[in-house]
Symmetry: D3
């Protein structure tokens, strides 16, 4: 067995959500979540079928992002993984809807950061172990940092 | 620390769901989810208590599957893991109910594929890192593949 | 790439929940979940911002637990992780509320056991792969063990 | 304004779920919930479109139940109502899945009892106010009744 | 048909939650939600069985509140209703857990206010139409009222 | 007791969601749901406090819609009701997020139709019994109508 890091880079200004599901139906279901919960968004979805034809299944409303999702999913190379890339929308708007899709097992990450996906490989088959999502923490926030953080969230309107 | 792959094979025609929970109560709660959400199913559940007597706790309505779940859970050997094996039912029917069981932390997989569970072992204690669920993807679906996929889901009645 | 185990020890009598989220807002949102769902609890929350200032963001109603959470989060050193330590409350009371926080991707564990967090490190950046939560299972419960287990859950009132 | 009771009777051995939704898409979405969560069930679904052509939209996998649902929905005569009738399945297996359908506002009842739907009518338009679901209570259970109740639920396997 | 108001008064310092469910199992399930999500709370639960023996089913950890719940449920007199009365806990801590109980259809109210339950009665059978929960609004808040409201929620710690 | 219909009309192009909650905190929580789940939307929220000062509490990012929500809430005149009016967003995108707000009891409707809210009034206090949401159904769809419906949902991209 070998453990490797697969770099996932997404088009400028987009976010990526990666998770584990259990059936081919999740490609369409994730499409419908995006279509109804993230109006105005551009997105692409890929799912790695893990038996039979073993194809990367793909959906989306934007060819560029659909191709980026399929490429990332192929590079990760693990079975039953989905990769969702979105633009003009943020994961915070759709993550709860994704988590209750009936085939979704879990979500590894939702991020716009540089991303490394840690995979285990054995006998030509792979599984995702986890993700390296952005940079390491540099220190603990001070009370002043806390105030800035709270002010920022209120400025963008996410907190009241 | 050592990283190993534990092969999990389930009885013909069955599916397995593996996850992390936080309390012994999850054995009974998962039983009740299966009893009420997958009527007519046969199933076995195992949970690895991780303190005190450290027993594999087990529930189910089918001795064979209960034993298979306990064996798989013992082979994985990590604390606070559950293994659920079902027959005459599919994970798609129960996965959302499992995800909202109050002790469930996450679900690693739900699959009928050959399965390798990747574990880290140190000082005789283990944790699950991820799963190798079925085969690697071989390529990206064509437009014709997409139509076949959609037709298949409509033929089995899962999509309208 | 290197794989390491980070030991997380929490103050006597407390439980820890560790998960992956996707945005700085989760610090306040997890605070509100604890304040409204675990009345009377003491708790501390830390979140590792993974871009820009890369600070450990912190919230809580108890300085000791807030510091313990920040220390554990810094020791884990991965991006977009949260650590929640609680006392006078149990994860079973709040875990479902945590799972539906809109930025939470997944929950690695909820435990009072000795805990090892398995991390992958590359180029000074880290990701959580999984957890070693308590001790390994020692055997499968007998029918008598099962009865004791069920009696215990009814004695503490969790099952009826 | 007038307040009336509409009697809803369902085919022998079936259960009915009635609720309020907000969009025509709910007909297909409820179909998919039944198809994936109640395998082996027969069912019919009706939804009362409340603008434009104002048609009773219908889905299902059983003509008899689809017609029964459409008839009940037409008799109720309120806008944005759904009626779901199922056989060889029980509401307990699908109710949580129905509640998270993205267009569902609320669920008035899920029952096999004789049912009266209370509607308000004004200017030819109607709304559901509530349901009369089965018979009135006759008294409070004794301790012995409680034991019988608990034993019954364990005998049918719903509680452990 | 007659429409009546049933006054529900609860013991000093307690809150009441009233809803519609579809099966006798909900009595135990609501008990387990309270036992695990509202630690330290006193509570009583009643459920009005609507077929067969038509008994008020009751659960709880406090005789006074169990009796109060049964009395209120009997006074309401509708089928498939639950009444939950709690003390030393607030509905905000348990309402989401109640909403996902698998037999719960909907929740009419959660309140400490004087409460009138509006019921329709026909042929000796009743249904709940709605609730009159507390006093009517007297006016719209000013900007100063808004600031006081926000300050209050932060003072009690519910908002950050 | 008197039963009345309160007409609710919303500004051109907007939708309204009305529900029952149990605490003043819901005004801010609903604001945060809209801010994070319906990016780009304009909205106003009103909540009718039912004890103490009994004020219509209001939030929003658009004065016109905040005023419209407060006016509708005042006209309905029942305690513990919320009214949410949105523009440039549809309820389908936010309804599940609203249903899991921790103080929300239920949702009466989500609609752009002409709306009548049926209220019971006694001793100057009111409760919502239900809604008359749009027009009455005129007939059952034919097979051709069904095909048009399905085609329409696929044309707007909501179904795949």
């Amino acid at each position: 067995m070998e453990i490797k890091i697969v770099s996932v880079s997404v088009p400028q200004g987009s976010n990526v959500v990666i998770g584990q599901t259990h059936f081919i139906k999740s490609a369409e279901d994730l499409y419908e979540v995006m279509a109804t919960h993230a109006q105005g968004a551009e997105f692409g979805i890929a799912f790695s079928e893990a038996s039979g034809p073993c194809l990367i299944r793909r959906e989306g409303n934007c060819d560029e992002l659909e191709k980026a999702a399929a490429d990332a999913c192929m590079a990760i190379g693990a079975g039953h993984i989905f990769v969702l890339i979105m633009r003009k929308a943020y994961p915070i708007s759709v993550l709860n809807a994704i988590k209750v899709v009936q085939e979704v097992c879990n979500v590894f990450c939702a991020t716009a950061n540089p991303l490394g996906v840690v995979v285990a490989e054995a006998d030509g088959r792979r599984g995702v172990l986890g993700v390296i999502d952005g940079d390491a923490p540099k220190g603990v926030e001070s009370d002043a940092d806390r105030e800035s953080r709270k002010a920022f969230l209120r400025k963008i309107g996410y907190k009241r």
